[in-house]
Amino acid sequence: MKVPAAGHAAFAALADQTRRDILNLLRAGPRTSGQIADAFHSSWPTISRHLGVLRHAGLVVAERQGQEIYYELNTSVFQDVVRHLLELMKPAGRTRRTRRRRPRHQEA
């Protein structure tokens, strides 16, 4: 994956619906990557990759607490405004993906 320059990284990171949804989820408080992945339809590796992009852009920070790594929202006010504007300009008909993911397969 191409790594954009630091100044553009934030905009590149904000240009994706799933990543904006992750930021929206983190507004409620820090979450582990597992908790974030549970809230989305995508698989854990996909979410993990999105988190990597967000972290590289400085939009989230990773904070270690004991065994777990929690992701905290780290957007500036300006970046929040950009995110809101992008949400408003979102093409009609697309549904939000923040619905709670159903439990995976009924194991055991």
């Binding site: 920070v61 904070e63 780290n74």
Partner: protein, 295 residues
């Protein structure tokens, strides 16, 4: 000439002293950093330096005798301050508990989540306030600018106090406790506002200027001027009573009586108008705050 040179040097000298004395706090050992926080602090410092440099440019230009600058210099300073406030506010949500910068109380330093919530709110407040001040500096009159600055300062402080006290230990307290605390804050804020308003209304009635509006109004009422002072004492005293925990009921009783009297005066003496609505609203608020303050 020497004085001018000294004036021109004051600001950078002060900035340098502050910078040198504070530097050990973040450059020294003993602070643990989350990734990327250095970037945030450097960004804030850069914005502060830019603000000081811009002010310095203004000072140097006016010392050097740029005549065209004289009339717009006050506006330019206010404008720069607004931009600076918005620029720092932009970065505030990205700060974390630290040795140097932010709203540092024992609670915010101890509770990382409270710090984050509070500084996100503070960032929004500062950006809105800074933008309002910068725009006001460009387009409004001197009085207008003063009004905008006071309004955004009071509004921002009230909003932050709300976040600080309602969001306090949000993580470990039960929802009912939080709801009750939120309600208490709301009721006390209303009491504070009403107390300030009535204290002010009461004080306004004291000066006995014969041309003043109050003297003429109480002439029209016809009980004599002692009644004006009496009303002023009732309103100012009632307002102060609202601030005492057990004073809500007597205070609200006094103020309701005053507001009912004012209503009667509006109806029978001066005629009703927009001010009558304000009196009605105040009456409702006073009764409401008394009812809501029952323990």
């Amino acid at each position: 000439m020497l004085v001018a040179a000294l004036v021109a040097l004051t600001l950078p000298a002060a900035a340098a002293v502050i910078y040198m004395s504070l530097r050990p706090l973040w450059a020294g050992p003993g602070h643990q950093a989350t990734d990327g926080l250095e970037r945030t602090y450097r960004a804030i410092a850069r914005r502060a330096v830019f603000f000081v440099l811009a002010l310095q440019a203004l000072v140097v230009l006016s010392v050097a005798g740029a005549g065209w600058l004289r009339p717009i210099a006050p506006r330019a300073v206010v404008f720069l301050f607004g931009v600076f406030l918005a620029a720092v506010g932009d970065a505030l949500p990205r700060t974390r508990p630290n040795q140097l910068f932010g709203i540092r109380t024992a609670r915010t330093l101890d509770d990382r989540q409270l710090w984050i919530r509070l500084h996100r709110a503070a960032g929004y407040a500062a950006v809105i306030a800074g933008a309002a001040i910068a725009i006001a500096a460009l387009v409004l009159s001197k009085d207008g600018i003063a009004w905008v600055v006071s309004a955004v300062t009071v509004g921002g402080a009230a909003a932050l106090a709300g976040v600080y006290f309602t969001g306090l230990p949000a993580i470990e307290t039960a929802p009912e406790t939080r709801a009750r605390r939120r309600r208490e804050v709301a009721v006390w804020s209303l009491r504070l506002v009403l107390a300030a308003l009535f204290f002010y209304f009461g004080l306004m009635k004291f000066p006995g200027n014969p041309r003043g509006m109050w003297v003429r109004l109480f002439d029209a009422i016809g009980f004599g001027q002692w009644f004006r002072v009496f009303t002023g004492v009732v309103e100012a005293g009632g307002g102060l009573l609202l601030l005492v925990p057990r004073g809500v009921w007597p205070g609200a009783a006094l103020l309701s009586a005053a507001m009912i009297g004012a209503l009667l005066v509006h109806i029978f003496v001066v005629g009703t108008g927009p001010a009558t609505v304000a009196v009605l609203v105040l009456l409702v608020l006073v009764i409401g705050v008394a009812l809501a303050s029952r323990s």
